[in-house]
Assembly symmetry: C2
């Protein structure tokens, strides 16, 4: 799966980079399977990815733009966000990614391999169930032992769930797959989105990365996330090292 994901990411990167920050990138082309508008740069990313999957064959792909497609006789399902951070990419803010989660079943808990590439740097976060998570091929771990007042936390879009100043710093980077991979690599201490808004396809890969890096990922209510890998499925997310996860759950209003 690793070489297939790398080929897909290469194709997406090649398609997206020439468009990033250019006006045409943001042109709306139609509506996606998830009910949000598809921009030209999304379409380019998805087409580039699908070409590679089609050539590989024997795979099912689920994506936010078209829903689901099967090539040949699928063994695995790939839950894909070909371009996470569309606004950033279309405006030339250098934080956007391709996110690929490979599953042997139909829920987010069946993901056994994940691949997220930060497209404008080419840096890659990968994880394999039971074998750990890596950044550019080097093992990564979540950061343990940090109190909420020392935490830098991503994804806190509805800050009304928290007292002002409960965290040391907040980051809203506009690319949740990367923000969650930053948690896996200890760049951020946690990721919190209480809105039940995040698409399963956006975080299926990063969820495995965090878990394989020693972290915990639940809904905003602290429950397991066992959603189906479908374009319209969404969830709230709290992700952090186990002790940080506990600390965050205690300060949610």
């Amino acid at each position: 799966m690793e070489s297939l994901c790398r080929d897909v990411a290469d194709a997406v990167q090649e398609a997206v980079e020439p468009m990033a920050g250019r006006e045409a990138a943001g042109e709306v082309m139609g509506m996606g399977a998830d009910g949000t508008p598809t921009k030209r740069i999304d379409e380019a990313a998805e087409e580039a990815a699908l070409e590679v999957f089609e050539e590989h064959g024997d795979i099912r792909v689920v994506s936010e733009e078209f829903g689901s497609v099967s090539y040949g006789d699928p063994i695995y399902t790939v839950a894909m966000d070909p371009l996470d951070g569309t606004y950033n990419a279309s405006k030339g803010i250098p934080l956007y990614a391709v996110s690929l989660a490979v599953a042997d079943g139909d829920t987010v808990e069946d993901v056994f391999y994940s691949y997220v590439r930060e497209l404008n740097t080419g840096r890659t976060y990968t994880a394999r169930q039971g074998e750990g998570a890596e950044f550019n091929g080097n093992p990564i771990e979540v950061t343990n032992g940090v109190g909420t007042d020392e935490m830098t936390v991503g994804g806190v879009y509805n800050i009304e769930h928290f007292d002002p100043g409960v965290f040391d710093r907040v980051r809203l980077l506009g690319c949740s797959s990367l923000e969650m991979c930053y948690v896996a690599a200890g760049r951020l201490h946690g990721f919190v989105d209480m809105r039940a808004y995040l698409r399963v396809l956006d975080f299926a890969a990063a969820k495995l990365a965090i878990e394989e890096a020693g972290g915990k990922v639940t809904t905003g209510g602290g429950d397991r996330i066992d959603e189906k890998l479908e374009a319209d499925r969404r969830s709230s997310v709290v992700a952090a090292a186990p002790d940080s996860h506990k600390a965050i759950m205690e300060v949610v209003r």
Copy 2:
């Protein structure tokens, strides 16, 4: 001033890039002139910048770590943040910058040339008083004609000043000089920080970029910012295209 700023940015980039994302980068080395801790990566950035200024001579430099220093017989003052986005740089989140504002007087209104380089991409925002602002040498303009509900706004750290959902999107990137330059280039629609917390040294350069790109920059109360270019001076900031600035001021609580 342009070639001097470019040389300084080159030196900072060379000093910072090998440290970015490495553990030693975040080690605290002492307290800066602005009363915040200086990290190893800050110190490296500042030392690299000062070497270039010293060699150039006849210049006064103001920076958050040491306050003010004069070389030779200064004509101009450079208000410098050698590394804006220290947390990002030390953790390997790819958004950090060197910010240089050249002034022929001692307040932020005396800045006549500005240079901000996004260090991990090498992309550069420059502005010259009365002559416009540029991104990588190409003219840039703020985006006009956008209602608050369509805006993507940076810097909204104390969101309690705004109703939830008043803006379409919020970005907290942890690097205010870049967030403000993104406003100058139309990548973001506005930048709002109501905390009276932002260091003048951090935004003196980006302020000129926004103004030269056709935008307006005031305090959170809508007043002129005429602070002295000193390490301990801070201000609230509202920055946007003139019509967007007006719209933002109307939704501040």
